[in-house]
Symmetry: C2
Subunit: 337 residues, 2 copies
């Protein structure tokens, strides 16, 4: 397994990215290609005693920042570490590409450099998020602000394949995020997507009200990228707000402070478990090779988790499974006509 890494993507690059890559080499036995300014990488490695064993460095002059326009990856920033990493993936120099950098640029670059799977209308960021029991996949969480019904149907197909093969969920339940359970709820986009999902051979459980999403509404939650992004960010904010409130309660007086000490390890574990960022990264599902987005604020351990997930995505042949599913749908559609 060889993973190509954008060493200069994310808030904590390159140090935490390099540390994460080092852990991945050591713990997972993967080989890595670090893409980025070679001089800086070597300097940071030396200063922080990071071993570059098992890693190859491929020099890139430039960096895409969070402020750069997504399309800059094809123009002014085509010599960036992200663009170069995607080209290496395209050329088959590694099995997967992982970046903690600018999401918009990553979606544009993956689509235009690596290309989508044939027949896939749009690729989507699909993070796996803790729910009451286990995890759900949210798709799309922000790559496509405007969607058409057929895109939402495909999100369901691709998410289902991921949850089944990577997360080993038996017969994943696919639900459509909506404002009520009736098929007539929501905008025209959602009403039409409901019909398409209903007619598919997915285990479609219908509309899922947002209240049920963090409980156990479905294993795959389908949404347009605007709604999905609202959901994932609200999840993050709510977790932060509520843990903050809990902390206030626990620090209230001498008695509660004693109680706090008694449950400290359990509470810490829960906080971690409720933090979807801990889980690592989100695949950009629909691209013809594995591309993963690590959270922008990823530290070494989170980044290593993203690398691990990317490895699973490769091992479980998710790209091949989606390719063949989309192709067989198309074939049977043509037979019908």
């Amino acid at each position: 397994m060889k993973i190509i890494v954008d060493a200069f993507g994310g808030d904590n690059a390159p140090l935490e990215i390099m540390k994460g890559a080092e852990i991945a080499v050591r713990e997972l036995g993967y080989e890595m290609i670090l893409v980025g300014n070679q001089e800086v990488i070597e300097k940071v490695a030396a200063e922080n005693s990071i071993s570059l064993d098992g890693m190859e460095v491929v020099h890139a002059d430039d960096v895409i920042t969070m402020e750069d326009a997504p399309t800059s990856i094809m123009k002014s920033k085509k010599e960036s570490s992200m663009a170069k990493g995607l080209r290496l993936l395209k050329e088959g120099k590694g099995d997967a590409f992982v970046s903690a950098g600018n999401s918009g640029a990553l979606a544009v670059g993956a689509t235009l450099i690596v290309r989508r799977i044939q027949g896939v209308k749009r690729c989507a960021f699909a993070p796996v998020i803790p729910k009451d029991k286990g995890y759900f996949m949210l798709m799309d969480s922000g790559a496509n602000v405007e969607c058409r019904p057929e895109m939402l149907r495909q999100f369901g197909v691709m998410g289902s394949i991921y949850m089944k093969n990577v997360m080993t969920v038996h017969n994943p339940r696919v639900g459509l995020a909506n404002i009520g359970v009736e098929p007539t709820k929501g905008t025209e986009l959602y009403q039409e997507a409901y019909k398409l999902l209903k007619a598919s051979n997915l285990n479609f459980v219908g509309n899922v009200e947002a209240r049920e999403i963090p409980l156990d509404g479905a294993d795959v939650i389908v949404a347009d990228g605007f709604t999905g992004n609202i959901i994932i960010k609200f999840y993050e904010g709510m977790a932060k707000a509520l843990f903050g409130k809990f902390k206030e309660v626990l620090m209230k007086n001498a008695k509660t402070k004693i109680a706090a000490m008694m449950i400290k390890p359990e509470l810490k574990a829960l906080k971690k478990q409720s933090d979807y960022k801990e889980y690592g990264g989100a695949p950009l599902i629909g691209i013809s090779k594995p591309v993963f987005k690590a959270h922008g604020s990823a530290d070494a351990k989170t980044f290593k988790n993203a690398v691990r997930l990317a490895g699973e995505y490769v091992k479980r042949n998710v790209v091949e499974l989606i390719t063949s599913e989309i192709k067989s749908e198309k074939d049977s559609e043509e037979e019908d006509n």
Copy 2:
């Protein structure tokens, strides 16, 4: 103050509604008009020792259920307690109307029977929700699935008046729920609404990412009804999921169970404080008389809180303030032309 109450709206009607009305009479000194089946009301009152002092009963034959189509209020269900209550409000028989029944029917009935304030494009459900410090108003939380930019601007205007006058927030910050802070983020609806809000004389703080909404993003969060409904229901689900997880942690072993006992009152208070339903109800802002929606699952205390809020809405002259603001906007627009 005389409040008209839909005695047969909501999951716990009529018992909890009647109990709530009784508390409102006793604690707030309001007069009430209970609308619904007179025989049943009198029977329930007798069986549960509910005093009908300070209450007038107005008979209505029929009830709108949660399954009825919103438009039924104007047709097959025009003799329902909700329809009749709205007509009493229209005729000036009371100062405000409160119902825990079918939201869609309430929005349609309020719009077509009581009518919107002149110049207001759409009315909106606008619950007040606990955030990290204080409360924010979410507008729209579900009355309008499809919106135009001008509607979102008006939501900002009306929400700002409410937060200033009823919640006594000085110079309320108005934010647009969005997927990023830049003015170019989101769908065309959000990009256009941003421009209109920016050009208004509101204290507009720009786009607010969903992550910041439960923290302290703004005092008024403007959204279309689809997005707003996703936000409020996700809020409810996340609170439920996280409190459930906390409970699991606290019940884990003998040590954590002791800690749990030590923080039980504080935790209970926090749970209540995080439950937006406790707060009572949501005004249907934009209607020419005060119409309040109590949560469908409202118990006596929650319903009483909704009645109290409706009373505040009347006392603070919210309808008059919105009417004059919308009129002055229109006048200055005509001057400009």
